[in-house]
């Protein structure tokens, strides 16, 4: 039995969902996107909150919820219209409701005047337009109110089901003969049809089952006896056996009396008692079929015995909802366990491969199976934690509306791909960055309606928030059709702040990316919305902390697009184990485009670079991983080095040179933040199959590192060109 505390926790979970639904519904109403059922749905959510609050004794919550509910009731019955003005009273009311719920949840005392403004506004609505509401008292109406209503009296002893001729119980014996199976008639279907007629309780007769070696696959060895409780007519039961009557023994009796439809010559003794349920499973399917009716017929055994019954214990027959609630903790524990399983499996792999061929052969095959299943298990478990990004997206319309009002601008928010799913852990980290980016957009990007008109734009600015899966990541883009970044102002500000040399020449893209530098803010006055100096650098750090990357494109006067690319999950990933000198690292497979071992002739030396690789007509800049990570020089001859082509963003590729590829495996990502803080170039760590720890490389960061090492000026130039969209370099090289 669930404890009261557990139930309260469940109730508060329900409240969270209810609050979201109310918000979404009211938002739809406000924007004219409501359906017929929207008001009803909002009403029901408030009603549920009120109901639960009453049951669990949260009186402060009940009172407010009741007034709220009454207004919604008036709206759904048409007494009050759903005008924007009225919805604007309801939205803050939902906020008050949310506060009251939070306080009830944490056990804080609720100050008596909390929300009284909102409440007064609600009550005002009820008294206007002559709407009569009973918002005054609460409605635990005394039974006296319902006097005079005639309810149908029922006596328990009237519930004898056989009395009316409604339901009957039939004894059924069903034994297929060889002909039945030969005609491809399936006993299972017959049983299913019988089940549809009522409550079926069958037991299999196993006495004719031979040993496995003697079993003939097309010979029936099983028969079934049992009872069917049904209101169906006898003819309907007979119909079930219509096509098989000659090919099996069938016997349907009621209350011990044989009935006419038994085919002559095949009547069997009707008084054989049902055979005791066999302990061993019958043919797989049938066992499940049987388990369900058995459960149906013996609910007392189930429920009475299970005194510590868990909540929501509806068994097989009631098909049940298609979703269920599970505590996050349980899922996280399973994710952890799967992670450990992945590690253990990797270790097993190592051991297997170190065995002599003749032994390891078979073992390796079986291991392949295990790897395959573990991968599927991992995917399934991770998908349990997946949530649609809408959980975060749906907070944005309101934000946009409020900011637009505050700044006097007209803004419309368009959403796309809100059902795209991503791990919970990532969804939770999206809220702040998105909020900040959208704030920026409205504050600095979208112009005032008058200004927009002058530039020939529509008065209303558009912000488009979209999510999609791309290349093993989730890409979220926020674009607006505002003024974009003003490169001159940004450059000047950067110079003023000493972030950039006075005479440095920067491309437009490079200027745009200056906004990511710490402390950067071009807000002329610190508006209380976004100009606190909490700038894009914090946003970028937030994104990078979860292994994602952020990029920005801006066109002066036309608008700006910010793209966030995030991993789908933080916990487990496919990695390529590589060796550099004596060190082992792991590179995320998602970052790898291809691996190759180019002949030395394909590598061209450009002064100041580690080389350029000629690859299918393109030149790809190379970077020595040992240089980037400051590892002492490698021992491998340059011909044998491996180049891993990775994506530096915007389609630009560069090649990382390593000594050896050690293999591709699933890797459990462990964070090193707690012990080491944020280490540039390292995304985390993992335990390899050999039991040793290896760092996981952060390829985006490596690309930055490579860029910033200005020693490789040529590399810079190469990447710069790539970044600006040139994909081919036809410079003559030595």
């Amino acid at each position: 039995m669930a404890s009261l505390d557990q139930l309260k926790a469940t109730f508060f979970d329900e409240c969270s969902e209810a609050l979201q639904q109310i918000e979404a519904g009211l938002t739809d109403l406000r924007e004219g996107a409501a359906s017929e059922d929207t008001i009803n749905a909002v009403f029901r959510s408030v009603h549920s909150v009120k109901g639960g609050a009453g049951i669990f004794g949260f009186d402060g919550l009940v009172g407010f919820a009741h007034v709220f509910e009454t207004v919604l009731d008036a709206m759904r019955s048409g007494k009050l219209a759903a005008t924007p003005d009225i919805v604007d009273v309801l939205l803050p009311a939902n906020d008050v409701l949310s506060d009251l719920i939070a306080m009830s949840r944490s056990g804080e005392a609720i100050p008596p005047d909390l929300g009284h403004e909102s409440r007064a506004a609600l009550e005002q609505l009820l008294h206007s337009d002559g709407v009569r509401g009973d918002a005054g008292g609460d409605d635990s109406a005394a039974p006296a109110d319902f006097e005079g209503i005639d309810f149908t009296p029922v006596r328990f002893d009237e519930l004898d089901e056989n009395a009316d001729g409604g339901e009957q119980t039939y004894q059924i014996v069903f034994r297929p003969k060889p002909e039945m199976l030969k005609k491809a008639n399936e006993p299972l279907y017959i049983v299913r049809e019988l089940r549809k007629l009522g409550t079926l309780d069958l037991v299999a007769e196993l006495d004719k089952l031979p040993s496995l070696e003697q079993l003939e696959y097309d010979h029936p060895y099983l028969g079934w006896t049992g009872t069917l409780r049904t209101t169906a007519k006898r003819e309907q039961i007979d119909e079930v056996f219509e096509f098989v009557t000659g090919d099996c023994e069938i016997e349907i009796t009621r209350d011990g009396r044989a009935e006419a439809s038994d085919p002559p010559g095949e009547i069997v003794e009707t008084n054989s008692p049902p055979i005791q349920p066999a302990a061993m499973p019958v043919a797989g399917d049938l066992r499940n079929e049987r388990a369900a009716p058995a459960a149906a017929a013996n609910p007392e055994v189930e429920s009475a015995g299970a005194a510590p019954s868990r909540p929501a214990s509806v068994k097989a027959p009631a098909a049940g909802a298609t979703t269920t609630r599970v505590e996050l903790e349980k899922i996280d524990r399973v994710v952890n366990m799967v992670g450990e399983l992945v590690i253990a499996q990797a270790m097993l792999g190592q051991v297997v491969h170190s065995l002599p061929e003749d032994v390891s052969g078979r073992l390796a095959q079986v291991l392949e199976e295990v790897v395959h299943h573990t991968r599927e298990l991992k995917d399934s478990v991770m998908s349990m934690r997946a949530q649609p990004v809408n959980a975060v997206f749906q907070r944005m319309p309101r934000l946009v509306r409020e900011l637009a009002t505050k700044t006097g601008k007209k803004v419309r928010l368009e959403l796309a791909g809100e059902n795209t799913e991503v791990d919970r852990s990532i969804v939770e980290r999206l809220g702040d960055p998105l909020t900040h980016i959208i704030r920026n957009s409205i504050d600095h990007g979208i112009e005032l309606p008058a200004d927009r008109q002058i530039s020939g734009k529509a008065e209303e600015g558009i912000i488009r928030l979209a999510a999609e899966h791309r290349g093993g990541r989730i890409v979220i883009s926020i674009s607006d059709d505002g003024a974009g970044i003003n490169p001159d102002r940004v450059l000047k500000k950067a110079r003023d702040q000493g972030l950039v040399g006075a005479d440095a020449v920067l491309s437009d893209d490079e200027i745009n990316n200056l906004v990511f530098m710490p402390g950067f803010s071009t807000a002329e006055k610190v508006s209380d919305i976004s100009g606190r100096g909490v700038g894009m650098d914090v946003v970028r750090r937030n994104i990078q902390d979860v292994g994602g990357r952020i990029s920005l494109k801006s066109e002066r006067g036309r608008g700006m697009t910010i793209q966030l690319a995030l991993p789908l999950t933080l916990a487990v990933m496919d990695g390529m184990v590589i060796r550099v000198s004596q060190e082992t690292y792991v590179m995320p497979m998602s970052a790898i485009v291809e691996c190759l071992r180019p002949p030395a002739s394909d590598v061209h030396n450009l002064i100041g670079t580690s080389g350029m690789l000629r690859l299918r007509g393109n030149l790809v800049p190379l970077v020595q991983l040992c240089d980037l990570l400051d590892i002492s020089s490698t021992l491998t001859a340059s011909d044998e080095r491996v180049v891993i082509i990775t994506d530096a963003g915007e389609g630009a590729h560069f090649g990382i040179v390593v000594d050896e590829l050690l293999g591709h495996q699933q890797v459990v990502v462990k964070s090193i933040e707690e012990s080491y803080g944020s280490v540039p170039g390292i995304a985390g760590a993992t335990i390899l199959g050999n039991g040793r720890v290896a760092f996981i490389l952060d390829v985006e960061k490596l690309s930055d590192l490579a860029n910033s090492q200005n020693v490789q000026a040529g590399l810079q130039a190469g990447l710069g060109r790539f970044a600006n969209g040139e994909s081919k370099m036809t410079a003559t090289v030595n």
Binding site: S48, F151, P299, E300, S303, V314
Partner: protein, 129 residues
């Protein structure tokens, strides 16, 4: 005089927390066999397959409300005689009248104590032993 312990009751409510509280309250009275359903459709599945002595259902549910469920139960060949108590959170006389006309055997206003629940059940089924 039915023993509470042999009663088979179906509780229908879309709110899990409320369902559980109703279950707990029923258990306090001594009922042991308690089925649950989250909505009208699964409630009908259970009602069609299980022998039931009582259905306690909330009124406010999405897709199929308590009144619609009542009508469906009353129209079903095997479940139609099962006693039905409608739960409501609002003292809505109109609703209660409609429920009575549709064949409900009693009503209950949320929140309710074990005593009130017992009282209502006994009004419907006779004194519980």
């Amino acid at each position: 005089m039915p023993a509470a312990a042999v009663l088979k009751v179906l509780v229908v409510d879309d709110q899990n927390s409320v369902r559980q509280m109703t279950r707990m309250t029923l258990e306090q009275i001594g009922v042991r066999v308690i089925h649950e359903a989250e909505n009208g459709k699964t409630a009908m599945d259970t009602a069609a397959l299980q022998p039931l002595d009582l259905i306690i259902s909330d009124y406010n549910m999405p897709e199929m409300d308590g009144l619609e469920l009542l009508r469906a139960v009353r129209g079903h060949p095997s479940a139609r005689k099962v006693p039905f108590i409608l739960l409501t959170g609002r003292g809505d006389r109109e609703l209660v009248v409609k429920a009575a006309q549709a064949g409900a055997n009693n009503y209950l206003i949320k929140p309710f104590t074990a005593d009130i629940l017992r009282q209502k059940i006994e009004q419907v089924m006779g004194k519980l032993s």
